[in-house]
Amino acid sequence: MTFFKEAMLVAGKDLRIERRSRVALAQILPFGGIVVVMFAFALDADRTSLPIAAPGLFWAAVFLAALLAIGRSFTVEEANRARDGLRLSGLDGGAIFVGKALAIAVELFLLEVVLGAAVIALYGVSVSGVLVLVCAALAATVGLAATGTVYGVLATGLRARDTLVPLLVLPAVTPVMLGGSRAFAAALQGSSSDAWPWVQLLVAFSVLAVAAGTMAFGPLLEEG
């Protein structure tokens, strides 16, 4: 089986588990929605600041929801020692990484669509520069999912995993949070040309994160 097919096999497995368990739909999505609403309440007194702060608040909500998605992706590997099954499967470690990161990215992108709609409705944001918004979101999502997958496997098996993953992931994805927020802010202000350099930063970060994860995931999976 090729690397790509192995990755798709793992991604398909993870997405099937999420579709069956409905954890993403019933818990992660509502959590992200609540965060967006809470931010709206917090800044409601100053309606003019909400559209300005919207890009940063949106990516903060996505990040918090992503932590749940990452944790969930590795929780399913803990039950019945499924992780050992993955190790014994003969699948390439890099392919397992790409598959798990892809599944998380798909979940996050769908989450972003819903949260984006909530931000538009609640924060009074007028949308412009759709192409650059979509490109920035895709690149940021890949970077977030790839980084989270690496730290997710790193913390697997540790009793302090639930608190350790956010602590490790947040500093690592700072470029994603910064680039995503700046790209969105520029695009929403109608200045797409100012947004593209941030998209390039996001793409570069994502490429690096995927490359590093593909190389590191196999050894990390063995060490846990």
């Binding site: 089986m1 497995k13 588990i17 368990s21 399913v76 039950a79 020692r81 014994l88 003969g90």
Partner: protein, 215 residues
Amino acid sequence: MLGRFPALAGADLEVEAGEIVLLAGANGAGKTTLLRLCAGLLPLRSGHAEVLGVDLAVDRRAMRRSLALVGHETFCYDDLTVQENIRFATRAAGRSVADADAALERLGLGRAARVTHSRLSQGQRRRVALAIALARDPRLLLLDEPHAGLDEQGRSVLDAVVRAAPSEGRTVLLASHELDVARQVATREIRIAAGRVHEEPAGAGRTLPRAEAWA
């Protein structure tokens, strides 16, 4: 190592292809450790170990597609059905969906195919784990307490699978506390005590009839 203490020390064991070796020993003797070491799930701290011609000190992943481990846990996903779990593990090993479905039928799991793993009984879970192992068509089958939780029918199926192993080109390492049952299928018995391997003496009822059957 278990903490600071060696789980296996001075273990010296050589298994020929086609043997069905029973690993006996008290709780904590090192049986599971030996099986997990053979599967490449544990690192070799010292000494030399070769499984299916692969030196574990050099690469403990290379031979994994050629072996299967049925352990205390099933390695399955609770939210996937029996069929989905078997198909995933089988395809991951580079084998076909047909191989997965054949193993599912061989273990008598046809009626439970669409039941999620979380809803299975302990015995059914054992069968799923064994089905996954067989679907991978391993050259080395590692069984850790395989009879635990199985009903009479399940034990018959398991024993048939183990007995057929040599004719199917498989070698079996079987760790068990149920010695009377396990001796019915084993061709050789080894005792592990305090992390060391002791060959049971020949002629003491330990070299069992199946040895002649396939030799």
